[in-house]
Amino acid sequence: MTPQELFQRDREWHPPAYTKDYKTSVARSPRNALLSVQNSDSELTGPTFGHNDFDPLDNDLIRNYAKNGGPIGERIIVHGRVLDELGRPVPNTLVEIWQANAGGRYRHKKDTYLAPIDPNFGGCGRTLTDDNGYYVFRTVKPGAYPWRNWVNNWRPAHIHVSVFGTAFAQRLITQMYFEGDPLIAKCPIVKTIPDQRAIDQLVAALDLNATIPLDSIAYKFDIVLRGHRSTFFENRPEGN
């Protein structure tokens, strides 16, 4: 059985390829129109992962790279669900995150920002959603950091999020921002997104109900992947 086709991706909701104020996009954006291709198995299938691919600490960034104590920073829980556009949970799908440390420095050989590396913080985590599409990470809140675009640009605190879904054409990478951050409205990368509602959807809400008292504060971040068409009426059998 061929999996059901996906809803068309709304290209007016996503950022376009060419966004002049995010300068790196200028030379890295295709200028020809994308070729629209109806879904086949190449797009509707996708890789799957199992629990034996992962370890219990993989979603705990406070402990998964701890060498000599814990990382510096505000202890947070990031949790939520992976849903499709019909609001249905996407179970057993891989969610991967990466982020700067509390000082705004990435553990990457190409990051030269003067804030120090945290010896107890790797900055990445991964987990599978449960049967209800739910996921949770524990980490420290990333710091804002400067980047070369205009002379004086600062990224708002953010966590990068990568999600699979069940179809390769659902593959998505986005960024999660934090409620109340004044840098969100200033950021040329955020502002590649043309619709304010789409930006708001990437801002995680402070979730006091999910905090652990005297331990960690919590933010809730739901991620939505493309939906599958649930019904169709075939006019003629395949092959015509």
Binding site: L35, V37, D41, P47, R107, C124, Q175, L202, E238, G239
Partner: protein
């Protein structure tokens, strides 16, 4: 007024940024954290079919290599079967992550040549790899396909290649064959711009 449709909207894409490797390939970022990193082995040890090597470079609109790109590959096995769709060899994932050399921008990976996959309306699709590119400056991941230069007849009948209006642009999706090695450059912009797909 009419009833609301009440669909959710897909979360908007944001660039993977320059440090995508931290999350998706920590060894490339320069550290070791997971017992088993994902994406290093597309085929597993039991895959049937012809073992091949694919090399190439992703270039930007100025002709410079995009050294921080990360490419994901998704492919069928040598019988043209995708994992999850039918039975495949034990350990065949069909998926991998490709990271170029940070100094040169040249990427290279090994896999098996996929078989013909049956497409829409039972039309066969020529053997191909599905590719998804993310990098700093790429606001939403770019989908494309790599076809094989030694499959002229199958390529000529391929339903996706035939959708490309300008015949010379079809060539941007076809890797140059040299025995069991293939060369495939991807050009993000410019005269040789690769055909990217809205899937």
């Amino acid at each position: 007024m009419v009833q609301g449709l009440n669909y959710l909207k897909e979360s908007a894409s944001q660039t993977a940024g320059p440090y995508v490797h931290i999350g998706l390939a920590p060894w490339a970022a320069g550290f070791d954290i997971y017992r088993k990193e994902l994406g290093h082995d597309i085929t597993g040890p039991n895959a049937k079919g012809e073992r091949i090597t694919v090399t190439g470079t992703v270039t930007d609109g100025t002709g410079a290599p995009v050294k921080d790109v990360l490419i994901e590959v998704w492919q069928a096995n040598a019988d043209g079967v995708y994992p999850g769709k039918g039975a495949v060899e034990d350990g065949f994932r069909g998926w991998g992550r490709i990271i170029p050399d940070f100094d040169t921008g040249v990427f290279s990976f090994e896999t098996v040549k996929p078989g013909v996959v049956i497409g829409r309306n039972s039309r066969p699709m020529a053997p191909h790899l599905n590719l998804w590119l993310v990098a700093r400056g790429i606001n939403i991941g770019l989908n494309t396909r790599m076809y094989f230069g030694d499959e002229d007849a199958a390529n000529a009948a391929d339903p996706v290649l035939n959708l490309i209006e300008q015949a010379h642009r079809r060539e941007t999706l076809i890797a140059r064959a040299d025995g069991n090695s293939y060369h495939f450059d991807i050009c993000l912009q410019g005269d040789a711009e690769t055909v990217f797909l809205d899937v």
